[in-house]
Symmetry: C2
Subunit: 232 residues, 2 copies
């Protein structure tokens, strides 16, 4: 038995779920072995980076052949801590919150939404896709009782920071924030900020690239109305 | 007037919307100048990287002072092509598709959802948050008529590839795919794959890290039932 000390770069950690996703896709199509080149193409990196990323899991690629897909799926699942089911709550059961409550794909992957929270009396006490919606005042009690791994924030932007602090106070172990604002909590609590409009903006860049592979600098164009920043 | 040729790394492009988001946040709090160090902290990189990223926009940081927030917001908006409003359609008006149709934050940012598409007769012909839902057969006609910058796929996984091909065929210029499967289209069409469970898996890693800062290798643990991959 060999001991491996982990010092895994953030960028590697961010890529590991993407490998996993691709591998599961290959496996479901009947493939059993995959090369680092193919994995690299899949996620838009190079094969040296793939081999480096996967080396953090141990040494089990076979030179000239590649990786056994099933084994790699298991190793990645283990490495990412996916063997243990995670308990998830959703704070803010608006449109996006409801969509997350209703999406069954998370449970299949071991992430079970166990409760929803909202301030709207018309939602409190109701059930949505088998999940009870509670009032915010019950947050601490319920988190203490059931133990919560991930708290999802789907509140309006101006409530997100306050909710994040309440989640940490209640003992939620990590946060996934969908509100379009950056939240700050203790360094001990992992936080991922998801802003769907970021994806749109990245596409926007590529869409506009054609028109301006050379851009002119020095002309002070202003945006929106009255020269105010055009992004809210 | 200076001409700048762009060869912007993908990773830089992916970070630019994050800077923009943070800057808008700072601006709304009354701040007017920001240092590269502060921007670096905000998005989890270092100040040299920030300066390098922003240098693609031109040379307008002031040594020892930092960046004028308003000016940087304008430059970033310009660079990302956000000055021109983008037309967006959503294919698959299930829970997530509905949530996207109902989210007003995109429009505020210049991304307007102009139509929805579905195969469900009970949805076709209806209106949702002011957006008409059409049958899939109308896709080509409507895209030709209005011109579409971004096609969002929120169908089940098994339909995503087929829908992606239809979108490209109809003339949609880029694709944002939320279905949990990788899609492949012509290299000329920018595609962003968004898989929300990837975010959960990244958090899962950090959650499990405490328990296994040293991991043992060599013991072949298997997952789920019957040693099958535990991820669907």
């Amino acid at each position: 038995m060999k001991m491996v000390r982990k010092k895994v770069p953030k960028a590697t950690i961010n890529r590991l779920p993407l490998y996993l996703r691709g591998l599961v896709n290959f496996y479901s199509k009947g493939e059993r072995v995959v090369s680092s080149t193919r994995l690299a193409e899949l996620i838009g990196t190079n094969s040296a980076q793939v081999r480096k990323d996967l080396s953090f899991l141990g040494e089990f690629g076979i030179r000239g052949i590649g990786y056994e897909i099933e084994k790699l799926i298991e190793e990645l699942s283990q490495f990412l801590g996916l063997a243990q089911a995670k308990k998830v709550i959703v704070v803010g059961v608006g449109r996006l919150g409801s969509a997350l409550l209703g999406y069954n794909g998370f449970k299949e992957r071991g992430f079970e939404i166990v409760a929803g929270f909202d301030v709207d009396p018309s939602k409190i006490g109701k059930e949505m896709n088998g999940v009870n919606i509670y009032k915010m005042d019950s947050l601490r009690k319920i988190v203490k009782k059931i133990g919560v791994d991930i708290g999802i924030i789907t509140t309006p932007a101006q409530k997100a920071q306050e909710v994040a602090e309440k989640l940490v106070e209640a003992g939620v172990k990590s946060i996934l924030n969908f509100a379009p604002v950056s939240i700050e909590v203790s360094d001990k609590i992992p936080v991922r900020n998801v802003d769907l409009s970021v994806e749109f903006q990245i596409l926007s860049y590529y869409l506009s690239k054609g028109e301006k592979s050379i851009i002119k600098r020095g002309n002070e164009k202003r945006f929106g109305e009255g020269g105010k920043p055009s992004i809210k």
